[in-house]
Symmetry: C2
Subunit: 298 residues, 2 copies
DNA sequence: AGCCTGCATGAGTTGAACTCATGCGGATGA
DNA sequence: TCATCCGCATGAGTTCAACTCATGCAGGCT
């Protein structure tokens, strides 16, 4: 710039005041006090070396200098607004790559994904089914991941969007049938990443001397659920992820007792990308879906 | 604006950095540190939710988003600069009303005014010859005045633009002629607003018991000079305001001794108008002329 | 005359914008 | 290969532009 511009905030205040012909209404639009606009305009007039407004009892009028200045300033701020919005819209469209476990994808995400796509037709989703935690430093094409845990991952922005009650589930064909919690002694308590809930649940049921089966370790919740459907044992399940099987009758919930899950389901991404519009849009959608579909607590 | 703009200072930093493809050069242009630009761009990228630059070893590159944003921001700041400059130029033209004493107008201002008009053809000057101090609160059409004094006028912006040596002048036809300062005893020491210099000059000349004539008080320096030309006495004169008479021989300088003037010649206007472009332009010109025509010191 | 509205202003506060100091990475030249 | 240079990044601390708060004033209206 050949010559120093006056205060940009002052020019913004000028534009709003000139359009509204009121410091008070301009202040409301800019979310500042009337006093702030008055000070801004005064400072701008000093910097410009000329009055821009005439304060008359009927209201504000632009002076000749103010009328001369307004078109350029209005254009400028309009151009800024258009340009900024275009970039934001552009950034809120394009491809979003989400990494989720196949189990979570099948049980929770895919049945709902249509609603996201309806809300954000401009965002092209790419779902990467991956049972393992994604390493964002190596897989840089992943924008966001869904993780199960406590949310304390260094360098990652994590938002918990699903809270659940947790309870045992089993096949209705399981033999001998589970009449009381004591009957669990006759069956394998399936040992997956939900295993730590057994201790709390069994204590709640008044049972001692029982623990998840040590002989069989399942790395994937989906496998554990399939074992339970096959009558091979009893699995611990989160309410929001077992609705389908309970509704279909392939699994039943033998006891009413449930406990709150300390592990949550989190939307996770690198801290530096948390504000990216696409990522924020998806995360916000997950949060809304998690709130809408809160399981009915027993 | 439908949506809050990001930081205007950030956008300004972005425009400069994008044009220069360098934070360091952008900082120099904006008169801030490289660190300030770096912080600004980082904050802007967070507010926009997208990277605008790629930092590569060869220098900066604009990302796709940055390329999308730049035209609108560049246009906007160009429009602001043009609009602001147009108003400033417009304000630096038009009519400027200057109040000066007739004496000062004749002896100093008018012989030089052509140079001002050549520099500022867009400013129409109106010279108001007024031997008295102008009261800006009553004569609101006066933009600027020239005053002789110490510059301590309340509520007024005063800039001293003429400093002078002061010395006695008289008609070459004065009788008896002035051979030594002692000969001043035979003549009237003319009493105008320059009268207070007599004490200091006479003391410097080693004379005691002499003072400006009490019987004749002249309210205007011009009158005193005319009296001196008529041989009616000896006047005290400022070097820069007596050149014409000395050159023409209508007055002579009988002694080499001179003293510095404590009173200066000031450009004066109301504080609140000091920054008006027309007024600033004229004042700056007076300062430049005062510097250029510094009298040769004896 | 009293009340209301909107702008003006001084005093004090706040936080965006800045500087300072320093670190890091990459290019270059010896 | 190493030392040096350059330019961007960053955290800590500082500065002052921008803001709020409180209040005053002028003019219009009832």
């Amino acid at each position: 710039m050949a010559r120093r511009l006056p205060s940009l905030h002052g020019l913004r205040a000028f534009e709003a005041a000139a359009r509204q012909l009121s410091f008070t209404r301009a202040a409301e639009e800019l979310n500042v006090t009337q006093s702030a606009v008055s000070h801004q305009i005064r400072a701008l007039e000093e910097q410009m070396g000329v009055a821009l407004f005439r304060r008359v009892p009927q209201g504000l009028l632009l002076t000749e200098a103010g009328q001369l200045l307004l078109p350029a300033v209005r254009d400028a701020f309009d151009r800024l607004a258009v340009g900024v919005e275009r970039v934001r819209e552009h950034e809120a469209s394009g491809t979003l790559t989400v990494s989720v476990s196949p189990y979570f994808a099948g049980r929770w995400l895919m049945p709902r994904i249509g609603r996201f796509r309806a809300l954000h037709p401009g965002i092209e989703l790419r779902i990467s089914a991956n049972p393992l935690y994604v390493d964002f430093t190596r897989e840089t094409d992943i924008d966001l991941a869904v993780r199960h845990g406590l949310g304390t991952w260094d360098g990652l922005h994590a938002v918990r969007f699903l809270d659940d009650q947790v309870f045992p589930v089993c096949s209705p064909a399981l033999r001998p049938p589970l009449e009381t919690p004591e009957d669990l002694r006759h069956h394998a308590l399936l040992n997956d990443e939900m295993h730590h809930y057994w201790d709390a649940w069994l204590a709640g049921a008044g049972l001692t001397g029982l623990a998840p089966s040590a002989g069989l370790r399942l790395t994937d919740i989906g496998l554990a659920i399939q074992c339970a459907i096959a009558g091979q044992g009893v699995a611990m399940a989160r309410a929001s992820l077992i609705e389908e099987e309970l509704a279909a009758g392939t699994l039943i919930r033998p006891f009413a007792l449930s406990i709150p899950a300390d592990f949550g389901i989190y939307a996770v991404c690198p801290e530096a990308m948390a504000d990216r519009p696409k990522i924020a849009a998806f995360r916000d959608w997950l949060i809304a879906e998690g709130r809408n579909d809160q399981p009915v607590l027993s």
